[in-house]
Amino acid sequence: MTPVAWRWLVALLIVLLLLPLVIPAFFVLLLIEIAILALFATAFNLLMGFGGMVSFGHAAYFALGAYTAALLVKKAGVAMLLALAAAPLVAAAGALFFGVFIVRLTATYFAMLSLACGQIVFTIIFKWTSLTGGDNGLLNVWPPPLLKAPAAYYYFTLAVVGLSILALHAIVQSPFGYALKAVRENPRRARFIGVNVRRHQLIAFVLSGFFSGLAGGLFAFFNGSVFPDFAYFNKSFEPLVVVLLGGMQSFFGPLAGALGFKVLETFIARQWPIYWPLFLGIVVIAVVVLLPRGFVGLLEARTWRIGPARRK
């Protein structure tokens, strides 16, 4: 990343750290949701933008994380931090289990079956009432008193999400990330430089599931409750929309996309909750049909055109 980009990030970080001191609690809570969604979407984009694999059932791993955290705290009396640490592990295990079956498939089948896997997780959560509470969900999943205040949970989330995104960034820039991008570009060629393509994709899938589960765990304590529709395909659509809005090829695109998404949701879903999925569907279709590379992609295209001309 360029020094200029680093400077922008640091500035952003400072702003984020100071915000709770000046804005009302409602916006702090919104920022927490944005951060969690940003993590979920960035994890999703590891798979989609960098791995070339589009999962339509990623909410499953978010939900697995959320329910793990909630169940450990409520039924086993585990401390919040431990429960939160366990969340991504269970989600990763789920990703490993499903991944073994679906990573081997070509893109279309992979998309379809990932959707099916997501629904399977939903159905299991929904029907296993004795464990998960079924449709009623699990309530009163709160963080310890120290972290209960909006500002406190905000800083906590910022820390966890910030570190996770740094980790994901490192992964993308690492040798693993390079090989993953190679697999995305040209699986056949990747094979012939010695990459075990299937294994590589599976690892990416598990990593993506891991961080999605962490986002889910964070959300469980933020929301105070977990419900089966955390795993429903409507929820799987969210990271997809965010990545489309923010641009798939850029690492930080999903962050911008998450911001835009949540702002839209706050205005539209709270006013007209029934129309929200309708709006979502229309926006996504419009973006795909009219703007193939997302809004950030649009920006990138513009600067690229300016760049070469300047070099003279």
Binding site: L113, I274, P277
Partner: protein
């Protein structure tokens, strides 16, 4: 055998098994109507229509409205059964012309995202028009009761479905293999460009195929309406099951859809007896086994 009889008390009950098999076939019939349409769309246009479950749902809801709206008459049910799928076909046509035409030839994942978006749009529209409550469709008078098969009760309505099943399958077979239109469709699944080069209006063929497939899904929903709770979420349930059918049978294979729809229908029917709550897990297991052995389905073709 005794151990099994302990676990599955129904296993020695011949008539019960027969009745379960028959109802499995009926369920398979609904699945077949949805899956063959999805397979057809994929075979010709190379698009996986994720909104196909939504068409099924719209077919069921249209039945609700038609039955409520049409005047009381012995033939009311049959009239509704005739009209509901047509409504869905019109919806399909609108979608194809207004939207899908812009994304043919695009990256398949973008196409999937678009049809995924359609699920949300259609689902919300259904909610707006019909409201959140469950609806039901009464069976026609003549088929409202049940008959006895070897002493076991069996809903008469399912007899209709079982009777229609071979009829529909034969009609479809005739259409695909004995009409010019069917031949064009089969040619399109093999080589679209060639077909265009031969002067066929491929664009119109696509629209016709999509409308026909939508009609089939709508028929499935309309037929199934008297047997299930017509509710939001129908689209998701049938979609996933249709996926399993299509993946096992192979995308683009007519015979594959038929065989695997019946197979999955039976599995669902018996699955309820074995593991009541999660027959979906059985489905997943079956699908996993098939995919490990043949990653493109039993009768499908490897994707390029």
């Amino acid at each position: 055998m005794e151990f099994l009889a302990g676990l599955f008390p129904w296993i020695t009950n011949g008539p019960l098994i027969l009745v379960q098999v028959m109802s499995g076939l009926s369920v398979g019939m609904f699945l077949f109507l949805v899956s063959v349409g999805m397979s057809l769309i994929f075979g010709v246009t190379r698009i996986v229509n994720l909104a196909h479950g939504s068409f099924y749902m719209v077919g069921a809801y249209l039945m609700v409205t038609l039955i409520e709206g049409l005047p009381e008459h012995p033939l009311r049910f049959w009239g509704a059964l005739l009209l509901a799928p047509l409504g869905v076909a019109v919806l399909g046509g609108l979608i194809e012309v207004a939207l899908l035409r812009r994304i043919y030839g695009r990256d398949p994942l973008m196409q999937l995202i678009v049809t995924f978006g359609l699920i949300l749009i259609i689902g919300t529209l259904v909610l707006i028009v019909w409201g959140p409550d469950n609806k039901s469709v009464p069976r026609p008078e003549a088929l409202a009761g049940s008959v006895r098969i070897l002493g076991q009760p069996f809903p008469s309505y399912y007899l209709l479905v079982l009777g229609l099943a071979p009829l529909v399958a034969v009609c479809l077979w005739l259409i695909f293999y004995r009409t010019r239109w069917g031949m064009l469709i089969r040619a399109a699944t093999v080589d679209r460009e060639m077909l265009g080069a031969l002067g066929v209006d491929v664009s119109r063929l696509y629209t016709e195929v999509f409308m026909f497939a939508s009609w089939l899904a709508g028929l499935g929903g309309a037929l199934a309406a008297p047997t299930v709770a017509v509710a939001l979420g129908m689209d998701g349930d049938v979609l996933i099951t249709a996926f399993v059918v299509v993946v096992i049978g192979g995308l683009g294979s007519f015979a594959g859809s038929f065989i695997s729809a019946l197979l999955v229908g039976e599995l669902q029917s018996f699955g309820i007896l074995i593991i009541p709550a999660i027959s979906i897990v059985l489905l997943f297991a079956l699908m996993a086994v098939v995919l490990v052995v043949r990653p493109w389905g039993l009768l499908g073709r490897p994707e390029e």
